[in-house]
Amino acid sequence: MSNLAQLLSGPRSVGRPAIPAHLRSWPGRLLSSLATPGGAIFVLAALILVATIAENPNFGEPGVLIRFFGRTAPLAIAAIGQYYVIVSGEFDLSMAAVISMQVVLAGNFIGEDTGRIIPGLAIMLVLGAFIGVLNGLATTVLRVPSFIVTLGMMLALTGIVKHLTGGAADGNPADDFREIGRGKFENVPVVEVVPYSLLIFLVLAVAAAWLMRRPFGRSLLAAGDNPEAAHRAGTSLVWLKTRAFVLSSLSATVAGILLVGYAGVHPSVGQGYEFTAITAVVLGGVLLGGGRGWVLSAAAGAFTLELLFTYLTVQGVESTWRPAVQGLIIILAVAVSGRAWTAGRRPRRGARRTEISTAPPQPPSPGTTTGEVDA
C-alpha cells in the first residue's frame, strides 16, 4: 500500500528521498512497471477480458479462450516482428505484402505434394530473410527513409504476387501443411486443446524477450533512442537495423504460414496487417520513433486489440464500426503513453528551472583580474 501511495504521489513530492525504482522490492517494481504504458496494457487486457466474460460467460470457458489465443497468435507474432523495427526507429509497411507473397508461394510451390513441405518452408524463410535484408540495406546504406523503402517493397511485392496469380485464389497446399496453422493437441486436461499456433507464438515470445536482453536488444533500443549516440558508442547501425528488418520479415513469414491454415490461399490474405500490427505495437505502449517499449507489451497489444473487437461483437456493435474503434484507440493510447514516457524521462520544465536557480554561480571574488584561482 505504501508503495502504491508513493507511486501515486510521485517520487519528488514526498519528504524523504525517494528510492530509485530499480532498488525497490519486487512487488514495488511490479507496481511501478504496471504504471508505465508497457505495463498498463496488461491491466487493460485483463479488464476487457473480465468485461467480455461478464457479458458472455461462454467466452470464459478455457477451451474457448485458448482457441481465441490460437486465432490471435499470427497477429501477435506479426506485432513482435514489427516491434523490432519500430523500437529501432523505423517502420515496416511491407509486412502485409510479405504475408500474401508467402501464402501464395505456399499454395503454388507446395501444392498437394507432402514431400515438398520441408523444402517449401525453407524457401519461404530464406525469401523472407532476403526481403528483410533488402529493406534493411536500402534503409541504412542508401539512406532512404524506411517508410519509403518498405512502401516501395509493398508495391513491388503485391504487384508481383497479383501479376503471377492474376489476382485470384489458386492452389491449395497439402492438408499436412495447413495443419501447422490450424492443428492442435487434443485431449489436454483443463484447456481441452492447445493450438500449435499458440505454442509457436509462445516460443517466439520467449525468444524475443531473451533477445531483447541480449546485447542485440540493448543496442536496438539505444539505436532507436539516439542513433548518433549508438553509432558513437561503436554500434554498427547498418548491421543492427538490417537484422531488425530481417526479424520483421521472418515474423511476417511465420504469420503467413499460420494464416494459410486459418484462411487458405488467396492474395488478399494478410491485407491491412501492417497497420494492424503497428496499431498493436503502439497500443502496447511502444514509442513510435523508437527507443522505448517492451516486446511482450507489443504482443499483449495484439491480444488486447482482438479482445476489444470480441467485446464489441459481444456488445452487438456492428462489425463495420471496427476500424473506427481501432482508430480511436490508437489515438488515445499514443496520447496517453506519450505523456507517460516523457513524464518518466525528465523533470518538468518548472522543476528544472528551480534546480538551476537553487545553485547560483559563485560570485566572482573582487580583484582577481589576473585569472588566478583564489585558494
Partner: protein
C-alpha cells in the same frame, strides 16, 4: 544576385526532379513511338494532365503537412467522405451545388482541424493521429454507405469534363491551388513558420513561434485539398463512392509523390514545385505504361522501384554535398531574402 549565381552552379533537388521528368518524357516518347503511338498527341497529353489533377490536389496538401513535420494518412477517407457527402447533398439538382461544395469543404476542414489539434496539442505523432482519424472515417463510411450513392447534376459534371485547349479545367484549378500554396509558403508568416516548425520544433518554440498554429493550418489545408480532390472525382464519376479514395491509394501515393519531388520526409525542407514535378513523373509513367500495355500489377512494381531509387539518389546527394554550417543559405534563408 549572388544567390542566383550560386543556384546556377549547384543543381537543386527540384532541378533533379525536373531532369528526371524530362528523362521520363523522353523514354516515354520512345516507348510509345515503338508502339506506333504519338506521345504528344492531344489525347495522350490530356490523359496525363487529367491524372495529375486529382493526385496533384492531394500531394500539394501532403507537402504542407510533411513540411511541418507531420504526415496525413487520412486523405483517402476524406476524399471518399467528401465524394459521398457532396453527392448526397446535390442529389442531381443544379441549385444545390454551391451549398454542397461549401458544406463538404467545411466538413473536410473540420477533419483537418481535428488532425491538427491531435498532433499539436495531444502530442500524437502525425502517422498515428491521421491513421486513427482515417480509420474512424472509414468506419463511418462502411456503416452508413453500402454502395455508391447520390448523384451530381450535369452542371457540376462539366467541371470534370471541360477543357481549354488540351488542358482540362480541373488541372488549371489544381495549378491555381499550387500557386496559392507557393505564395503561402514563400510570402506569409505562417508559411515561414511551417518550415521552421518542420525543421526543428523545439528550436522554433524557443524562438517564440506558437508551434501549434502552423501544424493546424497545414492539416486543415491538406484536408480541404483532399476534399477538393473528392469533389473532382465526384464530377468525373457523377455518383458518390465510399471506396473511391482507398481504391486510389492516395495516402501512400501522395506521400511518394511528395518525397519523389525532393521534400524531406522528416520535414522542414522541400517545396511545392518539386511536388508538382513528382506528380508529373507518376502521371507520365502511368500513361506510358498503360499505352504500352503493361499490366496494372506490374505497374505497381515499376512504381515501387522508381520511388525507392529516386529517393536513394536524393539521399546520396544530401549526404555528399551537405554544405558546411552557415556556408550557404538554406531554402528558408533564400525564401526570407526573397521575401525582403
Amino acid at each position: 544576385m549572388i544567390l542566383n549565381g550560386r543556384v546556377n552552379r549547384t543543381l537543386t533537388s527540384t532541378g533533379i526532379v525536373y531532369l528526371v521528368l524530362v528523362a521520363a518524357i523522353v523514354i516515354g516518347a520512345i516507348l510509345t513511338g515503338l508502339h506506333d503511338r504519338n506521345f504528344f498527341s492531344t489525347g495522350n497529353v490530356r490523359a496525363i494532365l487529367t491524372f495529375t489533377s486529382v493526385l496533384g490536389f492531394v500531394a500539394i496538401g501532403q507537402t504542407l503537412v510533411i513540411l511541418v513535420g507531420s504526415l496525413d494518412l487520412s486523405v483517402p477517407f476524406v476524399i471518399s467522405l467528401s465524394s459521398v457527402l457532396a453527392a448526397g447533398i446535390m442529389d442531381g439538382q443544379s441549385g444545390n451545388v454551391a451549398q454542397a461544395v461549401v458544406l463538404t469543404l467545411l466538413v473536410a476542414a473540420g477533419i483537418g482541424l481535428a488532425n491538427g489539434l491531435i498532433v499539436s496539442l495531444l502530442g500524437v505523432h502525425g502517422f498515428v493521429a491521421t491513421l486513427g482519424t482515417g480509420l474512424i472515417i472509414s468506419g463511418y463510411l462502411a456503416t452508413n454507405y453500402q454502395g455508391s450513392s447520390g448523384s451530381a447534376p450535369r452542371s457540376f459534371r462539366l467541371i470534370g469534363a471541360n477543357q481549354i485547349g488540351p488542358v482540362p479545367v480541373s488541372t488549371l484549378i489544381m495549378l491555381g491551388c499550387a500557386a496559392a500554396a507557393i505564395l503561402l509558403l514563400r510570402r506569409t508568416r505562417t508559411g515561414h513558420q511551417i518550415y521552421a516548425v518542420g525543421g526543428n520544433r523545439e528550436v522554433a518554440r524557443l524562438s517564440g513561434i506558437r508551434t501549434s498554429v502552423p501544424v493546424v493550418v497545414a492539416h486543415v489545408l491538406c484536408s480541404v485539398l483532399a476534399g477538393l480532390a473528392g469533389l473532382l472525382l465526384l464530377s468525373r464519376l457523377s455518383v458518390g463512392s465510399p471506396t473511391i479514395g482507398s481504391q486510389g491509394g492516395y495516402d501512400l501515393m501522395s506521400i511518394a509523390a511528395v518525397v519523389l519531388g525532393g521534400t524531406l520526409l522528416a520535414g522542414g525542407k522541400g517545396n511545392i514545385v518539386g511536388t508538382l514535378g513528382g506528380v508529373a513523373i507518376f502521371a507520365v509513367m502511368d500513361q506510358v505504361m498503360s499505352v504500352i500495355e503493361v499490366t496494372s500489377f506490374l505497374q505497381d512494381v515499376v512504381r515501387g522501384l522508381v520511388i525507392v531509387l529516386a529517393v536513394a539518389v536524393y539521399a546520396r546527394r544530401e549526404v555528399e554535398r551537405r554544405p558546411a554550417p552557415f556556408d550557404r543559405p538554406t531554402g528558408l534563408d533564400a525564401a526570407l531574402v526573397e521575401a525582403r
